[in-house]
Symmetry: C2
């Protein structure tokens, strides 16, 4: 079977780690698989290169930044190939460009347009282990080297798995898999043996750092099973895969609790209560290139004005405030309130489609814990609430307990899904 | 005019150096030239990468070594482009492969086969400064990344200058040019304003480190004028160019004194005095992939045996001895003597073609200095002698003085060549 494995920066942080990863790859190869490996830059390499660029230029051009940063994965790929060669197998490293990772031309945040894996196919057919530098590709239009955005080696791996017709894609990192909640916050959190693509998308979009959103989207679109697991143990991790809803009647209603402490809330006060006022606010923010998350428009109070609140990434806070201040003349608001001392907790599970009362359970749990809810948003399979950042950990624990997810250990398995 | 400039590792050792080099490049651009720059890896980067490889693998595959090492020039090229962009000009970096440096497939020591500079031409026509990662190319047959051997960025620069039809190629380093002898040994040594390709070839082949042999060979074949100069000053350096011998009647007989302390001498003792014995010795050494330099075969002594001495790079000493010891059965010699405490001094100048007595002058000078000559070899424009390494500096000084080359300073210019 063809298999794609991806190893993150912490798995190849130094020579000893690289040799250990090489052994794991060779073990997979010796099970009879055709192995393609995607690798990130070693440990802090990318940060060091960013620092170097900063020393040279306050505002480096994105094209040159990509040329610089892609050196990191090139080095780790070559070193990993060397280590595998020492174990009696032949390995060949390829840059993203050589591997046929064709992208859009947006430097620093390019999208994969196509994979043309001719050189990889040849190498696999010759019995070689293939090592591909992650996070990078080549622009279809300009033929320049591009990067896919930080952490996008996961996406490279899933895209290659789809293009090569691999049976599955393994994403190795320093965590054991996807958990029902962050174990650093919830001691009773436990590993989820398998999770559907949609639930994983909600987890990733709402603060779970384990897989990148684009990677999960790609896996869902191409139906690639992804095994998220630790490179530091042989334990199984979490399978992210298509789960037939019919098979999942025995599943719990809620799959996991995600949280995010990197959002901020902006309240636009005193907006004249007229048609199009809200549209004007959000057009202003969108034109500044900012994605917003939750939105609440207050009921109009006396005086004919209303207040509009929304959340956005903290990193976009300054830009959004500038844009709104510049547009004050046309929007007509009286004040902006910015608050980055907030946190978002999200309760996620496909079971809530068929089980009413999930939000009631969540809100009651938060109330009993004495936590005030500032905003609410929902999707078909998710309920998110905004709380004071000081209450966030308590809120995560309260929800985890309320849905009966606490376990004394992994032995008390949370769900059987027929696997 | 099109101009190619090459900057070595010490010229781009850190962010401050890179910014200084960027200013020099921009100054050339603002003189109205189309500028292509070839850059080496920053300072110790290549050594650090070699060290990293050594930690991972005792004997890394050459293909992967090239993949690893080429990251060095990629980084410096991108950083240099960033620095130029900050000075109000547009610069684009290219890898060797992108720049069209097509090579043989011998990893670690590939030869340039062709330059297809389509992307460089386009960038120059759009008014950009072009930065090319030196020392690297892409194999014509395998499409894999290759390196040209250490220090070969000079060759990349000259090859690009030829392919682009550049008016000249500037090689920037941390020395002021080519000197009549190593100024650390001969206080009266002075800069040579211009030197012919053949003399420069002899200088490079006999220990002058300033330009690599292959670079000079390429420049001669393609008739590219090369300006060797310091990146730390604006002083003119040395022009390596075609010099009409008719123009050079006023030139001194001797152009410079080169020396080399990295050779060793092997004496094969007791070789049976029969036809083909010498051929067998040198075939053995050649089959081990070793280039030899000077050769002396002693007159046959009584007993029907002879001794054969030759010199070779010290780094090949162990390999040569092993090969000869393995062949002792067929060669029939009785003993090998290895001596790496030797040094070679070479007196170089086209003038010796038309002036007899040069060797007599050299040998007399060495004799008067009390220096014993161990071996002698000559070319049409060079006399080399092998001496004890402890006598080497004295030998260089004696020759420099004997040919009237000592100057009190650069003001006492050594030669007018009509330039």
């Amino acid at each position: 079977m063809r298999v794609v494995q991806k190893f993150g920066g912490s798995s190849v942080a130094d020579a000893a780690s690289i040799k250990r990863v090489a052994q794991r790859i060779v073990a997979t190869k010796e099970q009879g698989h055709e192995v393609t490996v995607v690798v990130s830059a070693m440990g802090d390499t990318t940060d060091e290169l960013l620092d170097l660029a900063q020393q040279v230029s306050p505002n480096p051009r994105a094209r040159e930044m990509d040329m610089l940063l892609t050196a990191g994965e090139r080095m780790s790929a070559a070193l990993l190939a060397m280590a595998i060669n020492d174990l009696g197998h032949t390995a060949r490293s390829f840059t993203g460009s050589q591997a046929g990772v064709i992208t859009s031309e947006k430097h620093g945040d390019a999208r994969i347009i196509d994979i043309t894996p001719g050189r990889i196919e040849s190498a696999l057919e010759e019995g070689d282990v293939v090592i591909v530098a992650g996070f990078q590709g080549v622009s279809q239009s300009t033929k320049d080297v591009t990067t896919l955005g930080r952490g996008a080696s996961d996406t490279t791996a899933v895209a290659l798995a789809a293009a090569l017709g691999a049976g599955y894609c393994e994403i190795y990192s320093d965590v054991d898999g996807v958990f029902t909640a962050d174990p650093r916050i919830v001691p009773g959190a436990h590993r989820i043996p398998e999770i559907g693509y949609e639930e994983m998308l909600e987890m990733a979009a709402n603060g779970a750092k384990i897989l990148h959103l684009r990677c999960v989207e790609y896996a869902r679109r191409e139906n690639v099973p992804v095994h998220v697991r630790s490179s530091f143990s042989d334990k199984p991790g979490t399978w992210v895969k298509h789960i037939d809803e019919e098979d999942s009647v025995e599943n719990p209603i809620i799959t996991g609790i995600a949280h995010d402490r990197h959002e901020a809330k902006i309240t636009v006060v005193g907006v004249p209560d007229r048609v199009g006022a809200a549209a004007e606010v959000f057009t202003t923010v969108a034109d500044a290139g900012i994605n917003i998350d939750m939105i609440v428009q207050n009921v109009s109070v006396e005086g004919g004005t209303t207040a509009i609140s929304f959340t956005l990434p903290q990193s976009d806070g300054a830009k959004a405030r500038e844009a709104l201040e510049a547009a004050q003349g046309s929007i007509g608001h009286t004040q902006l309130i910015y608050n980055d001392k907030i946190g978002k907790v999200s309760v996620i599970g496909v079971g809530m489609r068929s089980h009413p009362g999930v939000s009631a359970t969540a809100f009651r749990a938060l109330a009993e814990a004495g936590i005030n809810i500032e905003m609410i948003s929902t999707s078909e399979i998710r309920i998110s609430v905004l709380v004071d950042v000081d209450d966030l950990d308590k809120a995560v624990r309260a929800c985890h307990t309320a849905f009966g997810m606490d376990a004394d250990g992994e032995a008390v398995v949370y769900a059987g899904t027929g696997r």
